[in-house]
């Protein structure tokens, strides 16, 4: 499919639920115990949370305990920290602890999510070989409190392309390949590789395109004859800011009105701009798509026969009809 407009997942990091908070506390305590004395800043960096979250959690831990034999929470039944260091130096030191001292196990679903993720990444060279991944999966299963949920992901990227890209990055050199764009034009591209991304079975290379002098995203299955060149890269990942969206919307994008059955609206979500007007027309949903040109549109629509219909503009509708008619003509 051409010029998919992958919007980054909605930035809706859900408000931490009770479960998330509890999991965090259960992980924070053994880590703090491992480290005699750490700063709030170090803890925040390690767990990837804000310093305030650390401070709140530490205060909560410091007031926790067990009711004890007399059910009265005596001093020995409570956590305690070095309050002076905490309040004046922003340092955390647990001076007394109860009940928890080790990292918690994973739940069946937590382990399953990681295991399925690992299967998906199995083809990534360099990180770990297949045996390494197997050991890791086995360890995760043992580290779970129940048998991990049955979840599996097969397939992975084209190992050859990935291997070349990795070598190029390690050596700081450009890759060169023939690229067929969605308009059907084949061009030789010289690219500083920056990042590899994937969505399910589709893999992409993001990099600095020397031909266009801009950041570009390339589909693995549209590249051929890749080589690692002798030319040094001009840009590396540390200095380039890669936007979250794989493809940037542009001012020249075309707007197309469509009617689709409700089941397939999700499949078109990448092309529906934020705030698009949506209305119901009979059992169909009428909305707007943004595409960079009709070459991509005609392929998209012809691949969803009977479920999506282009209504306007006339030129777009005709582009789709002609594309399908040309396909049909081959069977005449």
């Amino acid at each position: 499919m051409a010029d998919k407009r992958h919007r980054a997942p909605a930035r809706s990091v859900p408000a931490p639920q009770a479960r998330d908070k509890l999991a965090f506390l259960l992980a924070l305590v053994p880590w703090l115990l491992e480290h005699d004395r750490v700063t709030v800043q170090e803890a925040a960096a390690h767990f990837g949370v804000t310093e305030d979250e650390i401070r709140t959690s530490v205060s909560l831990v410091a007031m926790s305990g067990v009711p004890g034999a007399t059910a009265t929470y005596q001093h020995d039944d409570l956590f305690d920290i070095d309050w002076d260091a905490f309040e004046s130096d922003d340092e955390i030191a647990i001076t007394q602890h109860v009940a928890i001292d080790d990292a918690p196990r994973l739940s069946a679903r937590e382990a399953a999510a990681l295991i399925a993720g690992l299967q998906y990444l199995q083809a990534l060279p360099g990180n770990a070989d297949r045996a390494g991944i197997r050991t890791l999966i086995e360890k995760l299963s043992r580290g779970a409190s129940a048998t991990p949920s049955q979840l599996a992901v097969s397939g992975g990227p084209d190992g050859e392309v990935l291997g070349l890209v990795q070598r190029a990055v390690a050596e700081g050199r450009r890759v060169r390949f023939a690229y067929l764009n969605s308009r059907g034009e084949r061009e030789e591209r010289d690219v500083d590789p920056l990042r590899v991304e994937s969505i399910d079975a589709d893999w992409y290379l993001r990099g600095w395109d020397h031909l266009r002098q801009a950041l570009r995203t390339f589909r693995f299955d549209r590249m051929s004859d890749m080589v690692v060149t002798d030319d040094p890269i001009e840009h590396d990942a540390s200095e380039m800011h890669l936007p979250d969206t794989l493809f940037e919307p542009s001012a020249e994008d075309l707007e197309v009105t469509i009617e689709a059955s409700p089941e397939v609206i999700g499949l078109l979500a990448d092309y529906i701009p934020d705030g698009a007007l949506t209305s119901e027309v009979g059992d169909r949903i009428r909305t707007t798509l943004r595409v960079s040109h009709y070459h991509g549109l005609k392929r998209l629509i012809a691949g969803m026969p009977g479920t999506v219909r282009v209504v306007a503009p006339e030129q777009a509708r005709r582009a789709v009809a002609e594309w399908a008619a040309a396909g049909l003509a081959r069977y005449a």
């Binding site: 509890l22 739940s107 993720g117 770990a128 979840l151 081959r330």
Partner: protein, 311 residues
């Protein structure tokens, strides 16, 4: 929770509600504690969903007496086993594996798993080349099905098979969810026939209803299901003529298992004829299906439909 970890003999519900902070302040001795009891039930669910092994012990000689049920968390079953430790490369890989789920229902689980593993205090080795993998969960059926699998429940749903006019209701024991060629499939056992079946999630119409407890079906259903799909893929062979230099020629040739059997003719494998027909229709005049006849007919029918809809 700390109280439950610290106890060896277990605590009864009354002991917990009357003595543990958070409950005790609101506990009315001998009075109505219905709200507090509901809170306790919710907390219990939260704790269990986190993978904390909350045990109940029935008092000796009083089976079935819920009132004196004792709760505890055995320390040995709570702690991550000592031999389960990870090195920096492994932590980096686990971070990527979790990142793949940043959309959808498993994102909370993978985030929590990472938080728990951070307790071990190992920093990740960052790879030289950045990766941003992503697994999408566009199918609404995914979440209710994983839950039903975890809870061992039978599910009912309407399933629309390609070529059939309307959806039929299926009642199955859900066993595993597998992603194959970018699409999610449910491996299940049909209740009426006892037959193993594979369902494509995107063809499930409407809601999943989960209910009755399902009988145990031990085994590696993921491996079996992937092997089944592989076998179907192996048997599904199509010969396609592609226009030289076209998008179709480029992309189809890059597919796993595709070979060029004659100049401009690709032999490819597929699992689902209807899905392949959709994909081939999108290539318009760039492809011509030679074999099998059913695929040829399906592509022609799709193109006719698109022409009719846009005429």
């Amino acid at each position: 929770m700390l109280a439950l970890l610290a106890t060896e003999s277990g605590l009864t519900k009354t002991e917990i509600l009357s003595s543990v902070r958070g409950y005790a302040q609101r506990y009315v001795s001998g009075g109505d504690n219905a709200n507090l009891e509901r809170q306790f039930e919710r907390d219990k669910d939260d704790i269990r969903e986190l993978g904390v092994p909350l045990e109940t012990i029935e008092p000796l000689g009083e089976p079935g007496d819920n009132h004196n049920l004792r709760y505890r968390i055995p320390k040995g079953a709570y702690d991550l086993p000592d031999d389960v430790r990870f090195d920096s490369d492994e932590i980096a890989l686990l971070g990527l594996a979790a990142m793949a789920w940043r959309e959808g229902s498993l994102s909370a689980e993978s985030r929590r798993a990472l938080v728990k593993l951070r307790a071990l205090g190992i920093a990740a080795n960052e790879p030289v080349l950045g990766y941003a993998p992503r697994l999408r969960l566009r199918d609404a059926a995914f979440e209710p099905l994983t839950q039903a699998i975890d809870r061992h429940q039978i599910v009912r749903f309407d399933y629309l098979k390609p070529g059939e006019e309307r959806a039929r209701t299926r009642e199955v024991i859900p066993l595993a969810l597998v992603q194959y060629e970018g699409r999610w499939h449910l491996a299940a056992e049909e209740l009426a026939t006892g037959e193993g079946k594979t369902f494509l999630l995107r063809r499930i119409v409407g809601k999943i209803s989960a209910g009755k407890p399902a009988p145990e079906r031990p085994g590696d259903h993921m491996a079996r299901s992937l092997a089944d799909l592989d076998a179907v893929w192996e048997r599904g062979i199509a010969d396609i003529e592609v226009r030289a230099g076209s998008d179709a020629a480029q992309r189809l040739a890059h597919r796993r298992g595709t070979e060029e059997v004659a100049p401009g003719t690709l032999r490819m494998h597929y699992v689902d004829l209807a899905i392949l027909a959709d994909e081939l229709a999108s290539f318009g005049p760039e492809v011509l299906v030679i074999e099998p006849p059913a695929l040829r007919a399906a592509v022609i029918e799709r193109l006719q439909r698109t022409v009719a809809d846009h005429g």
